[in-house]
């Protein structure tokens, strides 16, 4: 009983400390902070938030598929595809997202004559996330025992049957927390799309704050907007991880 109360007090104290710190940063760290300049562009901020969510969700969906295919290539019997996917994995994982965006927009985009920056941004983010998503699949699929694969082979399951009836239903639960964490990474990564002028949170706030010389306020609002999206996602991931822990 005493321990539970002690735990609660510990949590409250930690929250209070963080809240005090945030209040200090947002209201007292710098003199004459004026959030009105940023917040008066409420509609633009909401649109920017929606744009970030749109880019992130589309990226998530694409990388879910590309990560799945990438994972298949990593485990395929064909040496060519297996080696190719391993090399690509090392290259992509070693490439900073900023460089990836530049390559996709100013090399790939110009070469194939696509000038839609949002689309190119989504392609860059999806490509960047593909090996991470493939790793998430790999980790989730480790719960399928060798024996289950043998049974599938014995009963001559085809590729679709293996995934539809046996593998996917079992990996969804362990995959969820990792997928939500990846979504958080995508949302944070989408801030870099401001360098190609895609109208997401980071870009719109930069534009607003540049107009009004309120860049500190702009970054602080930007910070809060990302936290509003990512903290619930992180809590959701922890919830799923606890609930479905195997």
């Amino acid at each position: 009983m005493f321990k539970i109360q002690k735990d609660k007090l510990g949590k409250i104290a930690a929250f209070l400390l963080v809240i005090s710190f945030l209040v200090y940063i947002f209201f007292f760290s710098i003199d004459n902070l004026n959030y009105k300049i940023i917040l008066q562009e409420k509609e633009k901020l909401i649109l920017a938030l929606l744009s970030t969510l749109y880019i992130s969700i589309v990226t998530l969906l694409i990388s879910l598929i590309s990560g799945f295919i990438f994972n298949l290539f990593q485990n395929i019997n064909n040496v060519f595809f297996r080696t190719l996917s391993k090399i690509l994995r090392e290259i992509i994982m070693g490439t900073p997202l900023l460089v990836m965006i530049f390559l996709i927009v100013y090399v790939f985009g110009i070469r194939i004559q696509i000038y839609n920056k949002t689309m190119l941004g989504i392609i860059a983010l999806s490509l960047y996330m593909t090996p991470y998503m493939a790793n998430s699949y790999e980790a989730a699929m480790s719960i399928i025992s060798e024996r289950q694969y043998l049974v599938m082979e014995l009963y001559d399951f085809n590729f679709f049957q293996k995934y539809r009836y046996i593998i996917l239903p079992q990996i969804i639960k362990p995959f969820l927390p990792s997928m939500i964490n990846n979504l958080s990474i995508i949302i944070k990564g989408s801030a870099l799309l401001k360098i190609i002028s895609v109208g997401e949170i980071a870009y719109i706030i930069t534009v607003i704050s540049n107009k009004s010389y309120a860049s500190i306020e702009g970054y602080l609002v930007m910070w809060i907007m990302y936290l509003i999206i990512t903290i619930p996602l992180s809590l959701l991931a922890s919830h799923f991880a606890k609930r479905f822990s195997l």
């Binding site: 024996r147 043998l150 049974v151 014995l154 001559d156 079992q170």
Partner: protein
């Protein structure tokens, strides 16, 4: 059942696991393979079920040459029970069997329902048919694995130490189920370390040691064995 193996060799990473196996058995319904852990008996069973490819030699089961057989067709005629139960953990006992019948073997829903109900009744598993494998005992799960293997009406069944992961009480219920198979006239090949069970169930024994067949023969001749290794193993 006819089983003929000539000069069978199986290697894992250049390590010889089955070393020139030869056997010729005819007119036998139940074959029991015995031997110490790691002697190659489970490996031999996997070759017989075409779960693995062997390096050289020849296996003929009921005149079917396994190195050239259409594996898909052959596997339709056999069943395999692993050391530990092999039920899919996210499906109920009933769905584990129905999935194979309906989705993989394209048996109609009505027909599969009848097959599943009859088999579950026969093996006293009806009460747990809706339960997930994690919610039933190891013995029940292993019996359900046997039922799943039987659901396709195989001509030949392979059982790889089906009781090795169970405690003595649960072992008994699985062994009773296997006895039932013999009573039904089923042909099967099993790997075991239960000597009493071997004597009771098998018509023919194959004793292995260090990847080789040391001795094989009719079960009634087991006591008259000339092999010191086998005598020592039986004493164990």
């Amino acid at each position: 059942m006819k089983l003929k193996i000539n000069n069978l060799v199986k290697k894992y990473d250049n390590k010889i696991i089955l070393d020139n196996i030869n056997v010729d058995i005819e007119n036998t319904k139940v074959i029991g393979i015995i031997g110490k852990s790691g002697c190659g008996k489970s490996t031999l069973l996997r070759q017989l079920a075409t779960l693995e490819d062997f390096d050289s030699g020849e296996i003929k089961i009921n005149d079917i040459e396994l190195s050239t057989v259409d594996k898909k067709k052959y596997r339709l005629e056999i069943g395999y029970v692993f050391q530990e139960h092999s039920l899919f953990p996210h499906l109920s006992v009933e769905d584990n069997i129905k999935l194979i019948l309906e989705k993989v073997k394209k048996v109609s829903k009505e027909e599969s329902k009848i097959i599943v109900q009859n088999l579950l009744n026969e093996f006293s598993l009806s009460d747990i048919s809706k339960k997930l494998p994690a919610k039933i005992s190891g013995g029940q799960a292993q019996r359900a694995s046997i039922v799943r293997a039987l659901s396709l009406n195989p001509k030949l069944l392979f059982l790889d130490e089906p009781t090795s992961a169970l405690d003595p009480l649960l072992t008994k219920e699985v062994l009773e189920s296997i006895k039932k198979l013999k009573e039904k006239g089923m042909e099967f090949i099993f790997v075991t370390h239960e000597m009493a069970f071997l004597k009771e169930i098998a018509d023919y024994y194959v004793f292995m040691d260090e990847g080789q067949i040391i001795e094989s023969g009719k079960i009634e001749n087991l006591k008259e064995s000339n092999s010191d290794k086998l005598k020592k193993f039986i004493d164990i």
